[in-house]
């Protein structure tokens, strides 16, 4: 019986193998597979349009658009890389690239990209995709964290409206949110379901670095005065001033929008691209505006992990893939991608485009912040994902909710955190 069953299974395998597509192109054309993570209606359309334009102009190098998803991109790419079946061109975010770069799955783009593109993107953006001596992606879209505010409420309250030239300090921000609160309403709602990246990236405004690289190249965690400013502000707004509700601390950005539209919160700190949802979902007549995040002693500096385009190391057509990237990221095309995703382009030429300087939907405010954006602090720290999940996320969540105080937060981030990082740096 067992022998018969095995034989039947083997026969089924052979039958299925016969049905497999596994077709190879024999028309001499090169086909590049481009896995895009564009997901909003406008950004998918913009990306597909650009692929179509490339294909029309380059019949010998055809690009095939493959839709990926942010939710699962890491596992999916890891499996594809391991199996030697990765797409030629990979869309991802810079904070997801370290493992792939160090694992040898991504091509070093040094020398592959044209000077036009290399010089158009600022050095600080290139730093987000530089691992060791190599460059493993092209950073092309980024978003600062901004305050989305109920414009009518702010105007009526008479508070000073901040601008990129004259932002609120963190202390002033706290005063403003306290002034706006009362009668079941709050000055701000912090959606901190993922508290670590939001806290670390905003902490750069106050000079917080948290991760310090020694002369031996090893990284240690030190929670210093600059690192305290943002967490303490949030903690005090929730626990002392009652100017921020505790209920949104576990929420994602989208979850806070109904309360924002209903007038329960005057402001919500969100990524710049959330404007698309707000424009789409805001009730008729709802006035909203984009304000810069508060500034500390380092001004408006904040951390970002740009979206990136990389080339798989296994791709036999790296030069053609680089040529496609060059096309896709020409200033005019970068603007189309940025508008589609409601984000900022990294390219300096693209950033000058008038479409990105309109007051409508706060584009001008966001564009003014672009030069203050720096690599996210943990960008190249090995062991960061484990530190984030096992140490920093629970510690910050407990601190924000008032379960622990600042000394214990510091102790856990530093002592527990350094134990985790040490394992990756032996």
């Amino acid at each position: 019986m067992r022998t018969r069953l095995l034989a039947a299974l083997a026969a089924a395998l052979l039958l299925l193998a016969g049905c497999s597509s596994g077709a190879t192109r024999d028309d001499g054309r090169i086909t590049l597979r481009f896995q895009s993570l564009a997901w909003q209606q406008e950004s998918v359309a913009a990306t597909k349009d650009l692929v179509r334009e490339w294909n029309a102009a380059h019949p010998e190098v055809r690009v095939e658009y493959v839709q990926g998803s942010w939710d699962s991109v890491h596992d999916q790419l890891l499996t594809a890389f391991e199996g030697g079946e990765a797409p030629d061109i990979v869309h991802d975010a810079s904070d997801d690239l370290a493992d792939f770069a160090y694992g040898g799955y991504l091509a070093d783009l040094t020398g592959l990209l044209p000077e036009r593109l290399t010089s158009d993107i600022p050095r600080r953006s290139w730093e987000t995709v530089t691992f060791g001596d190599g460059v493993y992606g092209v950073p092309f879209l980024q978003e600062p964290r901004v305050l989305i505010a109920n414009a009518a409420w702010l105007k009526k309250s008479g508070v000073r409206i901040p601008t990129p030239g004259r932002p609120w300090s963190w202390a002033e921000f706290r005063q403003v949110t306290e002034r706006l609160s009362g009668d079941g309403k709050y000055g701000v709602a912090w959606p901190l379901k993922e508290p670590v990246s939001a806290t670390l990236n905003l902490s750069l405004t106050a000079g917080g670095r948290l991760f310090h690289r020694g002369p031996d190249g090893k990284v240690t965690v030190r929670f210093e005065a600059g690192d305290e400013v943002v967490p303490r502000t949030v903690h005090d707004q929730v626990g002392t001033d009652r100017s921020a509700p505790a209920s949104t601390l576990g929420s994602g950005g989208s979850d806070t929008l109904p309360g924002f539209f209903a007038g329960r919160y005057a402001m919500v700190p969100l990524g710049f691209s959330y404007r698309q949802q707000i424009a789409q979902q805001a009730p008729e007549g709802f006035e909203w505006q984009v304000l810069p995040a508060p500034a500390g002693r380092a001004g408006l500096t904040q951390g970002v992990s740009p979206q990136t385009l990389s080339i798989a190391e296994d791709s036999p057509h790296k030069e053609e893939a680089a040529a496609f990237l060059d096309f896709l990221l020409r200033p005019r095309n970068m603007v189309r991608l940025a508008l589609g995703d409601w984000m900022l382009p990294t390219g300096t030429q693209a950033l000058k485009d008038p479409a990105l300087h309109t007051r409508e939907h706060g584009w001008a405010t966001g564009t003014a912040l672009a030069r203050h954006l720096r690599p996210a602090p943990a960008q190249s720290v090995r062991g960061y994902p484990e530190w984030k999940d096992k140490v920093a996320t629970p510690a910050l969540q407990e601190y924000y909710s008032g379960a622990i105080g600042l000394p214990e937060l510091r102790e856990r981030l530093e002592e527990d955190g350094n134990l985790v990082l040490a394992r990756y740096q032996r």
């Binding site: 089924a12 839709q67 596992d75 994602g252 309360g259």
Partner: protein
Amino acid sequence: MRTPTAARAGQYAALLAYLVFLALPFLWLVSTAFKPPRELASLHPTWIPEDPTLANFRQAFDEQPLLQAGLNSLAAAVGAAVIAVLIATPMAYVMARQRGRLTKAATGWVVISQSFPFVLLIIPLFLVLKRLRLVDSVPGLVMVYVVWALPFALWMLSGYVRAVPVELEEAAAVDGAGRVRTLVSVTAPLLAPGIVATALFAFVTAWNEFFFALVLLKTPEKQTLPVVLTHFIGAEGVADLGPLAAAAFLATLPSLVVFALIQRRITSGMLAGAVKS
């Protein structure tokens, strides 16, 4: 003391409460699918959309190849269900009827194999399928689904086989029926509800499966519905809720239809078995 009528009313009330509990997420999904964006972001959401719209469905179909993905899912799920049942039925019969160390070990293995996490299996599986040239093909995915569904299908079916009185087979043998005749004419009809239930389990498992489909299917035209549904979700879990709900609602319909059609068959099969035994 409670009267039988009161007890029955209590039972119905409990059943109703349970049904409502089960139906709530689905009803909310349907409601969301027909709401315009502004109603989706309301602090006081309503069950019945105030301004119902089909725009979410239009957008979902415009943005993603839902029909093609649905056909792919259907092919994978039906293929997995049919093959899993074809393989599992004779194996389950042996496991149920032949008691011995080997069958005990096999049963143990079946249970243990259910605890393997997907992530542990996916890379070796990917490499095997690549060697067989079955990556990026629906038949390859069917094979994976069959392997994935088989242990539970075996476990499930062997329970059904054990429920068929062995005396019936012995009686058939006494009447002169051969082994094959007994299996086809006596055992198989009694097993029908179990086979249908097992097929349904394999179908639904394959229909809903996401991770293997995500990793194994690269060509957009071959992707299945669960994979395509994730295309409505952006970074940090931000979702295009309206089109996502519309697409998810459509994706649940085939399962519901299959359940509705087969549920009667399961029930009638059970009753038929009861009468015969």
